[in-house]
Symmetry: C2
Subunit: 130 residues, 2 copies
């Protein structure tokens, strides 16, 4: 389930308590409990994540009646080797200077809970973390 | 934009600080700054919303490259007249006993900020609330 996800909406808590979300591309790597995202080191969400570690990743596919909520704690990781390991060419859409841009960092989300729904009337199914 | 939304992911803050989201059907009514959702009065999200008013509504349509983040404050409303006014037959999928079930309530989300993205590389566009 989590493996198929590409673009998720990442919700963070702003400094005034507001909940904000934005589209983020989840990186494809062996799922070991963590999900990885590329980010600019100086972006607002990096400040938000440093202040409030709790994030939510949501994924909705109305056509397939497939909805996922992933709760986790986020951490900013500056690791050149990991950036190189996870880099794919399509990331150039958001990071045009490529993987060696010093302002690129990673957000690691440690998954604490995942829930999903797979039909309009389905009660939620606990998938992970209980 | 907000008018077209049907199923959104609503993110709330759990009592232990965890961010959880779940699919919710936004009701179609004249948009005046508030969005309305049906809920069971005794559901966990009602407790979460009473404790932490801040919520996020996200909406993702990857096929159309359309992503929306709506920040707002939520309030539980028990108002039979409003329930009747907003009720549609398809809600019976989730509320089989119909609009007169005493356990049905409403969540009113007062929108404080909305942001959207309309192409893969788009910088976010502030749509409302600035
Ligand atoms: C489809 C799509 C995918 C995106 N993926 C990423 C991403 O992987 N990393 C990223 O930093 N921004 C990505 N963005 C841009 C973010 O949504 C956001 O606008 C930007 O990161 C600034 O967010 P912030 O102001 O909340 O920090 C993507 C935008 C779209 C439309």
């Amino acid at each position: 389930m989590i493996k198929d996800i590409r673009v998720t909406m990442m919700t963070t808590i702003d400094d005034d308590g507001t909940l904000r979300s934005r589209p983020m591309v989840a990186q494809q790597s062996e799922f070991d409990g963590d999900l990885w995202f590329f980010t600019w080191i100086d972006s607002p969400k990096v400040d938000e994540v440093k202040e409030h570690h709790q994030v939510n990743l949501s994924y909705a596919e109305p056509d397939d009646q497939n909805y996922v909520s992933i709760s986790g704690t986020a951490q900013i990781v500056r690791d050149k080797q990991k950036v190189h390991e996870l880099w794919s060419e399509y990331l150039a859409t958001w990071f045009p200077k490529g993987k060696d841009d010093p302002n690129i960092g990673l957000i690691r989300v440690h998954v604490t809970k995942a829930e999903y729904w797979d039909s309009p009337s389905s009660a939620m199914v606990h998938a992970y973390g209980y």
